[in-house]
């Protein structure tokens, strides 16, 4: 029984899953998971940053908002773009899981766009991190006073948001590595 089934089975397998495609399936599952992490990181980062507003009475009310700092506005914009991008690529990745023929083309496009998104999210993390550090420590040489002793909640939110964005940057690097390995391993050796 088993031996008579074998040729058909082998033929079926080779038509459906060449080594490249078989490898592709695994990679794409990791890809979806990593992209979900990226989406979660972007969402958390933006929400934490936006909800950080704090008003202190010194003695008249003086609010601290992310909108007051161009650096933090850029951060929120960049992370929102990353969030939208990750939604689109999660859908594309899920679609590719069901249509293996698309995978090869898709992996290359993922890699190209991921590199761009890495540039955006890494620069945004640096930009906001720089402002967060100034808020925390100040700078005696330029006379920029620290504000985190006053706006404690605001600073906690900014700091947490930057930390989550840093995690998002690392996830994006891992996504590029995954796509690179995936494209590389497609090649018969």
């Amino acid at each position: 029984m088993a031996s008579t089934d074998k040729p058909a089975d082998t033929e079926y397998r080779s038509s459906l899953s060449t080594p490249a495609q078989a490898a592709g399936v695994d990679y794409f599952k990791f890809d979806v998971i990593l992209r979900f992490f990226l989406f979660a990181a972007s969402l958390v980062s933006v929400v934490v940053m936006v909800t950080g507003n704090q008003t202190k009475f010194l003695p008249f009310p003086r609010p601290a908002k992310f909108r007051y700092s161009p650096a933090l506005v850029y951060f929120v914009a960049a992370l929102s773009v990353t969030g939208l991008y990750s939604i689109i690529t999660i859908l594309a990745s899920l679609y590719a899981l069901k249509n293996p023929a698309l995978k090869t083309k898709l992996l290359l496009h993922f890699l190209l766009w991921d590199a761009l998104i890495l540039g955006i999210i890494a620069s945004a993390t640096g930009t906001a991190g720089s402002v967060a550090y100034l808020g925390l420590k100040g700078n005696d040489h330029t006379g920029w006073v620290k504000i985190c002793n006053v706006y404690d909640k605001f600073c906690r939110h900014v700091g947490a948001s930057v930390a989550v964005a840093l995690f998002g940057s690392i996830v994006t690097v891992l996504l590029i590595w995954l796509s690179a390995h995936s494209i590389h391993n497609r090649v018969p050796k």
Copy 2:
């Protein structure tokens, strides 16, 4: 005459330059050129930043140095690492031009490391850009005064350095795109 030469010629070609290798040669030439741009950008960026020191008498001497800002110190460190990295990869790329057998393995490693370097150079550009913008415009809400009206030379140097680093970031994205296409096009279709 021509027809008798043909078989030997074809054999010679196919042994030396498969489609993959032929493509690899072109890509590696671009690769070396782009990496040279990256090296030049890192070098110029670091030199311009380091030579930006300026002392003003207000009325006692008050110097402005990149060393006074942790953000700019990170920037110089990151761009120095990028410069060293680009020297090493230029040598590796030149070596691969003479030893085509190495190319496939090398392209993947280039791609993985380039992604890491992109994260470093993009975050450094964001970090220094954020401080440069604060120096130029200040921030009324936090009471951080602008300093570029006083330290004009220092600010010009910081601004130019950030602009050159931004160019370096774009070159790094192009390097990743080049490696990705190169790995992708190796595959027989």
